[in-house]
Symmetry: C2
Subunit: 441 residues, 2 copies
């Protein structure tokens, strides 16, 4: 006889787990609603090219992709942003801007098998499209922070590290790094904590191949830049450097930083956001302010990440459409909430559990169950008649608040007996007076 299990890296959600997932999604939805973001959704299966167009052919290694029975190259989505860009692009001209959308969906990545790495995970995405200003960045970062605070997490639990690929490109330009090499250098910066010194130098040399620049010197300048921990330090850093052609651009960009930080301050989020230029976000499609939310204790795991991606909608066939957004997964968040004792409570048991002490009592039980359910109560009942002791024991174990006992004597009087599962208090009431609020107390 075969025994079946979920595929490796995939999760079964038994009711207790499903209740937690639903509670997490409900909290995300409520926070997005308060920010007036509208929910959207898209197919979990999409044309493969949608993702290779965005991320390059190398992404295919990480995909659950295949050829469908119609000869189409398709894939389970690894993320929802390309679908978003496709959908917004298709109707951009009819949409009031800014477009503020969020989605919750399952994504799929063929990750190497290791502890804690899943191949299917839920992700909450929020995106604001159609506005290029730091005010839009502030709104998205605020939503990200508030979506974590909604679970009771505080500034002691997580921090949003804020960086800026625009400022990075201006900085690299000021070092003489040509535009064509800048993205590759940022790829090296992304690995700066993970590579051994010799490997780092080799990677920098590879990124700078074809230039006359000294990789060691560039790395040294990069380290000074990534050490800047505040807007004041960033201002001082650029003020101390010889003026470059990009001086005005750098000044304007630092003014954008001021606008963004002021807005986050006004939104009450100063304690949650730290400038941190080590964050560059590996993906080449990010174009401006980028950020990641990390837990502050333990392993410092990433809880969410995002940033500005002003070119993607156009790249996928739509019009010019500046955009910023973030994604937040369910797995790390759930682990953190569990550690902090902040997991939303699972759904409650039924309000009523009804039992019939004789077959002739069952029609009354069923009629009242139907009426209470129609009025909004959650009603369970024993499918079998039987001995009182066994029925009442099962009813008490069910966790229901109140047991409804249908016996011949009570029914003869048009009544039902109520039994409180906590206190075992009992009383009889006329059946007609039963409402979802009725208790035995």
């Amino acid at each position: 006889m075969p025994t079946f299990n979920a595929l490796p890296g995939f999760r079964d959600f038994y009711p207790a787990d499903c209740a937690v997932l639903n509670a997490i999604c409900a909290r995300w939805r409520d926070t997005a609603r308060r920010f007036n973001f509208l929910e959207w959704s898209a197919p979990a299966l999409e044309p493969l090219e949608l993702f290779t167009e965005k991320s390059g052919e190398e992404i295919v290694r990480q995909l659950f992709n295949f050829e469908d029975k119609g000869g189409r190259q398709v894939t389970l989505r690894p993320e929802m942003t390309p679908s978003l860009a496709r959908m917004v692009g298709a109707r951009a001209n009819a949409m009031r801007r800014p477009v503020k959308w969020f989605a919750i969906g399952e994504n799929y990545r063929y990750e190497k098998q290791q502890r804690g790495r899943l191949r299917a995970f839920y992700q909450y995405n929020a995106d604001l499209l159609g506005d290029p200003s730091p005010a839009a960045d502030a709104e998205i970062i605020a939503l990200c922070a508030e979506s974590l605070r909604a679970f009771g997490l505080t500034a002691a639990d997580f921090r949003i590290r804020l960086s800026d690929r625009t400022l990075w490109f201006l900085f690299l330009g000021s070092l003489g790094v040509p535009e064509t090499a800048a993205a590759a250098v940022l790829g090296v910066v992304d690995k700066i904590e993970r590579l051994a010194p010799a490997d780092l130098l080799a990677a920098a040399a590879a990124a700078l191949a074809g230039t006359a620049l000294d990789p060691a010197k560039i790395l040294e300048a990069v380290r000074q830049f990534t050490a800047l921990g505040s807007l004041e330090e960033m201002r001082a850093f650029f003020a101390n450097r010889s003026a470059s052609d990009d001086g005005a651009k750098i000044a304007a960009r630092l003014a954008d930083w001021q606008t963004l930080l002021d807005a986050l301050d006004a939104l009450g989020l100063r304690d949650f956001v730290t400038p941190d230029l080590t964050i560059v976000r590996g993906l080449a499609y990010y174009t401006g302010f980028v950020f990641e939310a990390f837990e502050r204790a333990g392993d410092g795991r990433a809880l969410a990440g995002g940033g500005r991606y002003d070119a993607l909608v156009k790249k996928l066939g739509g019009p010019e459409m500046p955009a910023t957004g973030f994604g937040m997964g369910d797995v790390t968040l759930r682990n953190l909430l569990e550690e902090k004792g902040l997991l939303p409570a699972a759904a409650a048991a039924a309000d009523f559990h009804a039992i019939a002490l004789a077959p002739e009592c069952r029609p009354a039980l069923l009629a009242d169950a139907a009426r209470l359910r129609a009025a909004g109560a959650a009603v369970e009942y024993a499918l079998k008649d039987g001995k009182f002791g066994k029925l009442i024991q099962a009813a008490e174990q069910s966790g229901a608040r109140t047991i409804l006992i249908y016996g011949p004597d009570e029914l003869a009087r048009g009544e039902v007996r109520l039994h409180d599962t906590a206190t075992r208090a009992e009383r009889c009431v006329p059946r007609a007076s039963l409402t979802p609020e009725t208790t035995a107390a």
Copy 2:
């Protein structure tokens, strides 16, 4: 430049559509909660064998199946019942019975392209496992009916046709059809309305090949059987026939019918359920009472279908576990609700839309927006400062109930101006007094 679309048969959910889908799912969830069913979920990607084990190799034609990068034969699920059977089977011994579970998930079938045929659709499944009695069938059928009534549909809109594969097998046995041929005959019955007379006869002959039975006579008896429209007619039908060895079994089964119909009567659902033996449910795994919900007008489309499948859990590796359940898709239901004007209303616009008349007013706007959001209000705000006329026009078009106007004069007094988008009434209130309930009226 590439233009991307969703795959054929797949749907994009723009916010208005997503709101309808969410409202449908919310109604399903609430109904299941009132019946005390617990939500579960499972991966959308499963081992291919889970489905071929249940339904045979021929199902593969209809699947989005492929080999993953680890060499596993996998498929997008066409339905959730095998995953349910797998999960319940794995933990059956630790579960209190009956197990009452529901799920809402997207399923995938590689259907031939035709109007109204989708390749991805949402389905609501509810299952009751661990109880073989007609009381359990009644509970599942009641949940199916109430899940449709929850949208405002009445007995004028839909009907549940109730049939019974157990009674069918007893009837076919009384005709002399051997057990080995009975399932094939039911396959013919399933097509009785769709096949031309000659094709039907040929199909019956094929199903009865190897027996000495006359296909035409069997078809004639089948037609008499399927014409029975009530339990009374079923009783009379069997009473008029010569007694067979299965007479006692048939009598017991008709008593089960009585129990089931009495329970549905007590649950207030007599008007919604019609005995109809033409329903046999094509899938061989059904074992007892089966049913389908149909719309009464128009094309009479199927809204839901289900029945008892007592052998599946064991077949997929679990213990003996009687089970009954149903599935209800979103597509037909949504079309019907649309035609009847019963589609749940889409989400409302924001409660507040805030505008700042000068840059120095923005911090106050942001602080109040954050405070109102924290208190539960949905708050939108203009990302740009600008001319009053343009800002107020956009704010009114947003559909928000109340516009919050942050001007220098009001702020100097510690106030904000409220503007009612419906009446254009205005008044100023102290900023500190703003709550989610504040209105301009």
